[in-house]
């Protein structure tokens, strides 16, 4: 009987429940960062691996105790940037179409379809990638890509995966542009294209960049789908887009089952995890910076 309870007590109960939730979340985050950092830093402080060798070493060969993460760092950034490059034009293009040209179609048909894509588990993308993208790359490039697995295949699969993320966020960004801007532009005699290009896209730019960064964050952190199509070669630097490679996430997953806890290899894998964590913090920081700049620009 909540309404029989004294008001003040109810207030206190609410305060403590919500406060507890906040404390719990904060504790989980802090513990997580602490754990990853503790294990990840052991590589450098206890096992005595030189951080420079770790971040710039070009060979990841655990059985020779060589832990150079550069092949995976390059792999991760290559697939992330390439996939963004592939997905961005399509995402922004379709966002412009459904927001500026055919809003009803956008709301009724396009949005639900896109949202469906967001919910598809990554293993499904991985399987599709393995059987469709890899075979396609193999068929097109022949002997240059004997298995079809490589950075290009990884980037294509990732592009498809992050497309819905970037598209939905871009649609929201374009919708958030006040209608007065468009009306003002039309009143000045601008065509629809001029309005979109000079007014809508420009004022939505900060939110669009947030959309891109969020897409990149997803691409950077994606594990399973990439692992299935990229080939998983960690031992040395990839030399081309058709070369099999590995990413930080893929190397981490593939390695953990074989590493014994407490070994240098195990700690080195945690260092990869720490690197991933640091990268996602950087991405979040960029989003916040853009948000602040955007708020300033729009007054």
């Amino acid at each position: 009987m909540a309404n029989l309870m004294p008001k003040r007590r109810l207030e206190n109960i609410g305060l403590s429940i919500t406060g507890f939730c906040v404390a719990l979340v904060a504790l989980v985050v802090v513990t997580l960062i602490f754990m990853v950092a503790q294990q990840g830093l052991t590589t450098f402080f206890v096992d005595g691996i030189n951080p420079i060798d770790f971040f710039f070493g070009q060979n990841w060969i655990p059985e020779q105790e060589r832990y150079g993460a550069l092949p995976m760092i390059v792999g991760s950034f290559a697939v992330t940037l390439l996939s963004t490059l592939f997905a961005l034009p399509v995402a922004i293009g379709s966002a412009i179409f459904v927001v500026e040209v055919a809003p009803t179609f956008g709301r009724r048909v396009f949005q639900p379809v896109i949202e469906l894509l967001v919910g598809i588990p990554s293993v499904v993308y991985g399987v599709l990638g393995l059987y469709v993208v890899n075979s396609l790359v193999k068929a097109i490039f022949g002997d240059a890509a004997p298995t079809g697995a490589g950075i290009l295949s990884g980037a294509i699969v990732l592009a498809i995966m992050i497309l819905p993320t970037i598209t939905t966020l871009s649609m929201d960004a374009l919708r958030a542009v006040p209608n007065q801007y468009r009306e003002g532009s039309y009143a000045l005699g601008c065509t629809r294209w001029q309005t979109v290009w000079h007014v809508v896209l420009k004022s939505a730019l900060p939110s669009l960049m947030t959309a891109v960064i969020l897409g990149m964050t997803r691409a950077f952190g994606e594990t399973l789908a990439v692992q299935m199509v990229i080939g998983g070669v960690e031992r040395s630097m990839p030399t081309g887009l058709l070369d099999p490679a590995s990413t930080l996430t893929a190397a981490l997953t593939a390695g953990l089952s074989n590493a014994t806890s407490g070994s240098v290899y195990y700690h080195a894998l945690w260092s990869l995890g720490l690197l991933l964590l640091a990268m996602s913090l950087v991405f979040i920081l960029i989003i916040h910076l853009i948000g602040r700049k955007g708020a300033k620009a729009n007054g």
């Binding site: 040395s236 014994t260 806890s261």
Partner: protein
């Protein structure tokens, strides 16, 4: 009670650990053993086995262990054996810290663990796995010498014409670093040499099933798998130095690419579970179970005429 005060923080740290593990994409974790409370081996009850143990580690012979556990639990209805996957590394870590009663591994514990962690571990070799090279069915080479195999996996031989086939690039498909199958194959074939940094396989895949698929799909490819994976469309098993990869040839010592499958236990295992663990391992080694071992493509210990030490030296048994 100070312990009580910590309970929330402990809960959170466990949650944090779980989240960290999940967030890092770690799949599959070993179940911790729940010690039986019912087991009371005080004399008269010693004939009936009770309790539950858990066994985690290598996936390569997991189906065999599962088959053994099913048969064993049927014969001893009051026992429970939980089998979980995780890889040799995890199996060894978990037996080293005592969180499971049996840790499965494809390699000797000494190769993966520190010497101090190996103390108190008992190596139970339960069966033998033979491995051999497989190639894409389109490759017109049927036999390689051990030296040729070595050359291919060290990146020195890169074209099939160098080993008597039609000209074409040799596409090497490897298992991932740290794989037990890879360790066994490299120990037997490379003899301690390592491939140069410049050598890049076309793929490093993380399971034998995927190896078979990839070899079948890739022209001119070569890789290696355990005997039980050697059948399939699009792949072809090679003979090595003219010796066929068969159980009989491994037993006689003619075929040299093989390794023991290990089930590590602890010397200081608690008395609640030790009899069950021992009985289960004895069952895996028993003559009754040998038929299943063969059926699943492994080789029972009993028939071997040779043995291999941890350094890979083969001697008559």
């Amino acid at each position: 009670m100070s312990k009580f005060d910590l309970s929330r923080r402990q809960f959170v740290s466990v949650m944090g650990a779980a989240a960290a593990v999940a967030g890092l994409g770690l799949a599959g974790c070993g179940s911790t053993g729940n010690d039986s409370s019912a087991s009371d081996n005080g004399g008269d009850g010693s004939s009936t086995l009770m309790g539950s143990i858990s066994c985690s580690g290598a996936t390569s012979f997991q189906p065999l262990v599962e088959a053994a556990a099913d048969a064993f639990m049927e014969a001893n209805p009051e026992t429970s054996i939980a089998i979980s996957a995780g890889g040799s590394g995890q199996g060894l870590s978990q037996i080293a810290d005592g969180s499971v009663q049996i840790g499965r591994s494809d390699v000797y514990a000494e190769e993966k663990l520190e010497a101090s962690q190996c103390e108190g571990l008992v190596d139970n070799q339960v069966c033998i796995v033979g491995m051999g090279p497989i190639v894409n069915a389109g490759v017109d080479v049927d036999d390689l010498t051990l030296d040729q195999l070595k050359g291919i996996f060290l990146g020195e031989i890169t074209d099939w014409s160098e080993v008597g086939g039609t000209a074409g690039t040799i596409q090497v498909i490897q298992r991932e670093a740290g794989s037990g199958t890879r360790a066994t194959f490299e120990a037997a074939v490379l003899g301690g040499e390592t491939a140069p940094d410049s050598f890049r396989p076309v793929a490093e895949v993380d399971s034998s099933g995927t190896v078979v698929e990839q070899v079948a799909a890739t022209d001119g490819s070569i890789s290696y798998v355990a005997f039980n994976y050697m059948e399939g469309d699009g792949i072809k098993a090679l003979t090595v130095d003219g010796v066929e990869p068969t159980q009989a040839n491994v037993e006689s010592g003619d075929f040299t690419i093989w390794a023991y499958e290990h089930m590590y236990t602890r010397e200081d295992e608690s008395e609640d579970t030790a009899p069950l663990t021992q009985a289960f391992i004895e069952f895996m080694l028993s003559d009754d179970f040998a038929a299943t071992v063969v059926e699943q493509g492994f080789i029972p210990m009993g028939d071997m005429q040779v043995k291999k030490d941890a350094d890979g030296n083969i001697t008559a048994a």
